[in-house]
């Protein structure tokens, strides 16, 4: 329903439908953005558990140098599906699909997404995609890695590989539908009283993510469909013995799949920009810098893909161009990190689970980002490409970054979504275990890669066994860390402390409605009177008035403002 029509509706009119959905509404083709958001989050989390079990099986195999726990082909099927599920069915759907759908209409003051039915359709493409991936195990499982480079992908497990391709095309289609919806919703349905500089940064991040997905996803789809033709219909786009070129596939694949990293991390950056100011009771530092850096990452992110191919078939000029563009991405990313750290300065920081996961993310992401810079330079990349160093790097970014951010978001908005608080001691236990597990699992992998252990191997040189044992122990800690979280979510959803409408004292619009929000979000649409991060602004107004009235001088009770000069 267009917002204009909604606004025309007299507000006194009693609603024609119930105020909240029943449990079974969550299993239907429901068009409410909040239902779809939770459908995305819960489905994605189930896939996270499945992908996590695959990871545990792989780490168990890697506890010894020999291939003695699972068959090497099954191992490859696990590593392929672990990567695919974690990226395409966990992080992307949870971050954009889950949080995006739930929050964007609430944050911009709309009653739903611009195209509710398209939204529901986009979600319902995900379960069949997951079923295809899991079903592929009955046909041997796709074994060519989540990158599925031909010719390997054209010669191993053809049926499973075709199922894998169809699954990715499904989620890709879902992503394109979602992107169109987000762009239109933010652009056209933002409540008129909200200025662009009052748009929550999560919405800026979603906008940038959607633009990026819209440009890059069709290229992946094209590449995969050509691959599908090569496997099933006798074409030879990528078959070297029939005039094809295997490197072209890599270009098509990475044109999407490097930006996919930003599809995963940009919405998480958006979550950070919401959680940190609210929990630190501070205005976000550098609003426009953060908003523009999202757009900059979106643009530059389209020109970095060849750094995945420095050891492949790329001419030298390409390596030089993509070195520079890859390194440049570090600048807007750094701006964001510094801005969040500066937001912490002078705050009144609540050290709850949401905040702990946020500062945990900052710490982990700094490590992942810095190792990313080393991968942008060809000399070092050539040595460590396709080794455990790369595995360490992207798990710091995607686990320490994206997954920590998703947890932060869940702890922050769970009260809004369910009307109940999560239990803090369980949340802090979850955080501590996750932080230990992440570092124990992934930090030693840097050394493994630099010293000579390639990735995607079920068997390796025995000299690396001791370090691998540490990684495996870490993986078990990580697996175990989920348990307090699961208990917490299930118990708190039913029996947790009532949250009230605005437990954190947030200022963005989602906190102005009830928890959980009504169907269609508000009885009366809110009017935006101040920005989403105007914490302590009364204080500032008082201060500024004082400044006007008398010559500026510090009073004893304003001592803390002196710290401002340090910045």
């Amino acid at each position: 329903m267009a917002q204009a029509q909604l606004l025309d509706k007299p507000f006194q009119e009693p609603p024609e439908h119930p105020k909240a959905w029943k449990w079974y509404d969550y299993f239907t083709f429901n068009v409410d953005h909040k239902v779809i958001g939770i459908q995305y989050l819960v489905t994605a989390f189930i896939f996270y558990l499945i992908g996590g079990l695959m990871a545990v099986a792989m780490r168990t195999e890697l506890a010894t140098a020999e291939s003695d726990f699972i068959d090497p082909n099954l191992y490859n099927a696990f590593l392929t599906n672990h990567g695919t599920i974690m990226i395409f069915l966990w992080i992307v759907p949870a971050a954009i699909g889950g949080f995006g759908n739930y929050l964007v209409p609430l944050m911009v003051g709309a009653r739903d997404m611009a195209f509710p039915r398209l939204n529901a359709l986009a979600f319902w493409l995900n379960p069949p995609a997951g079923a295809l991936l899991l079903g592929s195990f009955f046909f041997g499982g796709a074994q060519a890695g989540w990158t599925s480079y031909p010719p390997l992908s054209t010669i191993t497990a053809n049926t499973a590989q075709s199922m894998w391709i169809l699954a990715i095309v499904f989620v890709g289609t879902s992503s394109i539908m979602g992107s169109v919806n987000f762009i239109v919703t933010i652009w056209k349905m933002k409540i008129p009283s909200m200025r662009w500089d009052q748009l929550p940064l999560f919405c800026w991040a979603t906008l940038a993510t959607s633009l990026l997905a819209l440009v890059s996803t069709p290229v992946l789809a094209a590449g995969l469909i050509l691959l599908l033709f090569d496997i099933n219909f006798g074409t030879s786009f990528f078959k070297p013995d029939a005039g094809g070129n295997v490197v072209i596939y890599q270009h098509l694949f990475w044109f999407y799949s490097h930006p996919a990293v930003y599809l995963m991390i940009l919405p998480i950056f958006g979550i950070m920009s919401e959680v940190i100011p609210v929990q630190a009771r501070k205005p976000i530092f550098g609003y426009w810098a953060i908003a523009y850096s999202s757009l900059a990452i979106c643009l530059v992110g389209l020109f970095v893909w060849v750094h995945h191919m420095f050891t492949s078939g790329t001419p030298p000029w390409m390596r030089m161009f993509f070195t520079i563009s890859t390194l440049i991405v570090a600048v807007p990313t750094g701006v964001k990190i510094f801005s969040w750290v500066a937001t912490l300065w002078g705050g009144k920081i609540r050290l709850n689970s949401a905040m702990l996961f946020s500062v945990g993310l900052l710490s982990m992401f700094v490590i992942g980002g810095l190792s990313g810079v080393t991968l942008g330079t060809p000399p070092v990349d050539i040595h460590v490409h396709d080794t455990y160093y790369v595995v360490a790097h992207f798990h710091y970014v995607l686990f320490g970054g994206s997954v920590f951010g998703l947890y932060a978001g869940i702890y922050h908005w769970f009260p809004k979504m369910t009307g109940r608080m999560l239990n803090e001691p369980l949340g802090i236990t979850h955080f501590v275990l996750t932080l230990i597990g992440t570092n124990l699992t992934f930090l030693p992998m840097h050394e493994l890669g630099l010293k000579g252990m390639p990735r995607r191997v079920a068997m390796y040189d025995p000299q690396f066994e001791a370090v691998n044992v540490i990684c495996t122990i870490g993986a078990f800690v990580l697996a175990f860390s989920i348990i307090p979280f699961l208990i917490n979510v299930i118990w708190s959803w039913n029996k947790g402390k009532k949250a009230g409408d605005n437990p954190w004292g947030g200022l963005s619009l989602e906190w102005t409605t009830s928890s959980p929000p009504l169907i269609e979000n508000w009885e009366v649409l809110p009017i935006v009177t101040k920005g989403p991060y105007d914490f302590g602004m009364e204080q500032r107004a008082v201060m500024e008035r004082k400044e006007d009235e008398e010559e500026y001088e510090y009073d004893d009770d304003e001592d803390e403002y002196e710290d401002e000069d340090d910045l």
Partner: protein, 338 residues
């Protein structure tokens, strides 16, 4: 008065962070030994990045921990923090400094890449065999033609990807040329000038070695961690890896690109001999096996999975034939070993 201790603290912290970063950059001990001319170049670049990364990590992480402790909410305080939402000079500073760092790293890494030979793959071919083919085609082309198809066809065989001649050997023939074929799950090394085929790579130390890499089934990736060099072997495209080993010894050759179930077992060795030992190895193998025969023994790790690898004498013979066909006869290298 109160400003002075703060700046001294900042200065001290800066000095400590700098010292720690330099120490970590020089002493991280994360690399295996250096055994090629390229290895020290790569390590230097990495060490510099490690120094910068350590400093940045300490500063950011230190700030996070300090702020979280110092500005944590005290019990009963429900107020807001200090309403600061920007500082233009500070933001310009932390945009400009990382930008300057990455531009420096970009320029420096391109320079290292140049010195490694990364900008000159295909150097020898364009000067010798490629050139010769090109001349032949141009001679056949009718006068006045505007089509560049013959030129493109002539150029098609040229190698233009990989690590080529480093500046000191630019324009020169390599001392030793080896055709390398990756196949599930073994590396096969063919010395066309000596008629030797082997399952391990033997090279002389201090000589300019060129590998022409190819793959007979799927993509493989040739990696010697001690050389810091890696290059994909791609079906249908010949890639190049040119280097000088600097230290005699035996080093692992690892396949770094997922190539199937036994990818992890696709390992062999590179043996860097002194030039005298290498000549001895050459003469022994030439005498013992003759120019047409095969001295291929699967490396022990692959042998454990030989059933799964599908390597058999027929396949070997086929690969050798392919190599023989692909190997042009006009390729005369300077045998300047001695």
């Amino acid at each position: 008065m109160e400003q002075i201790p703060a700046s001294i603290w900042t200065l001290t912290a800066g000095v400590v962070v700098t010292l720690i970063s330099f120490w970590v950059g020089q002493n991280h001990g994360l690399f295996p030994e250096q055994a090629s001319e390229q290895a020290p170049l790569v390590d230097n670049l990495f060490d510099i990045m490690m120094t910068i990364a350590t400093a940045l990590f300490l500063v950011v992480q230190g700030a996070i921990i300090y702020f979280v402790v110092r500005y944590r909410r005290r019990k009963g305080d429900e107020g807001d923090g200090i309403p600061v939402d920007g500082n233009l000079p500070l933001e310009a500073f932390w945009t400009a400094i990382p930008a300057a760092i990455v531009i420096f790293l970009g320029i420096y890494s391109v320079d290292i890449f140049l010195r490694m030979g990364g900008l000159n793959p295909g150097d020898h071919t364009s000067h010798t065999m490629g050139h010769k083919q090109g001349v032949a085609v141009v001679a056949q082309a009718p006068q006045g033609t505007t089509s560049d198809v013959p030129m493109l066809l002539a150029a098609k065989g040229d190698i233009d990807v990989g690590i080529g001649a480093s500046p000191d050997v630019l324009g020169q023939q390599p001392d030793v040329a080896v055709k390398v074929t990756g196949m599930q799950y073994a590396w096969i090394f063919n010395y066309p000038n000596y008629g030797i085929t082997a399952g391990e790579l033997h090279i002389p130390v201090g000589k300019d070695v060129q590998l022409d890499l190819n793959a007979s089934d799927v993509i493989h990736s040739f990696w010697v961690p001690q050389f810091r060099l890696k290059q994909d072997a791609i079906p249908g495209i010949t890639t190049e890896l040119r280097f000088k080993a600097t230290k005699p010894g035996t080093y692992p050759v690892v396949c770094a690109e997922l190539c199937g179930g036994y990818h992890g077992a696709m390992r062999t060795r590179v043996i860097a001999h002194t030039p005298e030992e290498f000549d001895e190895w050459l003469s022994q193998n030439q005498v013992a096996s003759g120019p047409e025969s095969t001295d291929f023994t699967p490396p022990s790790l692959v042998a454990a999975h030989l059933d799964a690898t599908g390597i058999n004498p027929q396949l070997l013979a086929q690969v050798q034939n392919e190599q023989a066909e692909a190997m042009p006869n006009d390729r005369h290298h300077h045998h300047s070993m001695h």
